[in-house]
Symmetry: C2
Subunit: 239 residues, 2 copies
């Protein structure tokens, strides 16, 4: 909590990497820590955008809702990634913690000042905006044109697929911190359909679903890539 930014585990993975070491002390003073339990709301679409958040640990979902309750997840944010910045002075998405989460909070004025003071930070954030735009376009392609099976296979390709340290083994472990219903809300499907598609892939021995249900073993990466057919994987941390 009271720890200095110099000791921050995600400093080199977040936009704080652009803050020179000698400015870290001052930097630390600007940020506050906030913690959220699973399912807690971090910010709400349409409300005044007062803060920018950086994920220190845990995972957060960004979402857009329709008045009648339908919701669409437009992206996930993991350790090191930031959210809360948009073109408007109100938030354009809501955000909710998926797992227990610790966030760094910066006020908008402070962020603006930092952008002015640190050209590298400005550059970092501008690049990030463009990356997110590309990711959003990936999701548009996925939602508009892919079948349920392709959507799910793609999701596994993008969000799973991190070797657990050692890459030698043919099967790799996909960790899915989010629930089936969150996967569904991201892919524009229902929970049942997501479950069925996973079951089908498991049936074909392309994947194996762990008993903890949030871990998926990729048994046949080639076949999985084939199921994601289009070959065009959607970029990481879409949205």
């Amino acid at each position: 909590m009271t720890s200095d930014c110099a000791a921050c585990p995600v400093r080199r993975d977040s936009f704080c990497q652009t803050v020179p070491a000698r400015d870290l002390k001052a930097h630390s003073k600007k940020r506050s820590f906030v913690e959220f339990k699973p399912r807690q709301t971090v910010m709400v679409e349409g409300e005044p955008a007062t803060s920018l958040f950086i994920v220190t640990c845990g995972i957060v979902k960004l979402l857009r809702s329709l008045p009648d309750g339908r919701t669409q997840i437009v992206g996930f944010r993991q350790a090191g990634e930031y959210f809360g910045l948009g073109e408007r002075d109100t938030y354009t998405t809501s955000a909710e913690a998926i797992s227990g989460t610790r966030l760094c909070r910066f006020s908008r004025p402070d962020v603006a000042a930092m952008r002015r003071a640190l050209p590298q930070l400005k550059k970092y954030m501008n690049r990030e905006s463009l990356r997110q735009l590309t990711a959003a376009q990936d999701q548009v392609l996925l939602l508009g044109q892919m079948t349920a099976r392709e959507k799910v296979a793609n999701f596994l390709m993008v969000y799973g697929y991190r070797a657990p340290g050692d890459t030698a083994r043919p099967q790799r472990l996909a960790k899915l911190p989010m629930s089936r219903s969150e996967i569904a809300d991201f892919l524009g499907l229902t929970v049942e359909t997501v479950s069925r598609m996973l079951a089908a892939l498991a049936n074909e021995e392309i994947i194996a679903i762990g008993q903890k249900t949030h871990s998926v073993h990729v048994l046949n990466p080639v076949a999985l890539a084939g199921a994601a057919r289009p070959g065009v994987a959607i970029a990481r941390h879409a949205g």
Copy 2:
């Protein structure tokens, strides 16, 4: 063609608005004009991104394709809007002229130099990136959660709905320069479904379709907004 930027009809509506009048002469030297007939390709996804384009007149569609030919339109660009800039050094979308189109072309290095020289331009483009991100998220919500009817109604709200000068009349004219199949590719539907939804709205006397088929009269704006249900209109020039 050879006209000076000072006489450009879209100067005040494009990012050139940030170029001081005294620099316009030099600015003119950097840009070249290119023209495209309907259906002609301006740039291709994945190819080296050498240029940035500003639409002078006409309309252009930006699209993403899957290897098997499925294509998704991720945005339209009209007079004054630019495209061709992304996080990568290759284009992230293809672009194709819808109507006969005239574009200003700038080389990437020149754009980079201009950004360096003109802080206002940089600011303009950064804001634009964020606007496009918001628009892309709007499209994600639409594609992921809306019904065919809602999609079409929303499309009319966003892309139509420009009073023909005089706002007094209850019915307004929606001009749709794009074909049914382009609307379909934008909404993630088929041509037939788009046609049926338009027919249904016409049946209910919410709209009336002109004989030229590219113009739609909005007879009952309130009912149209209702059909777009969610109320949350997707932002203009999505993507």
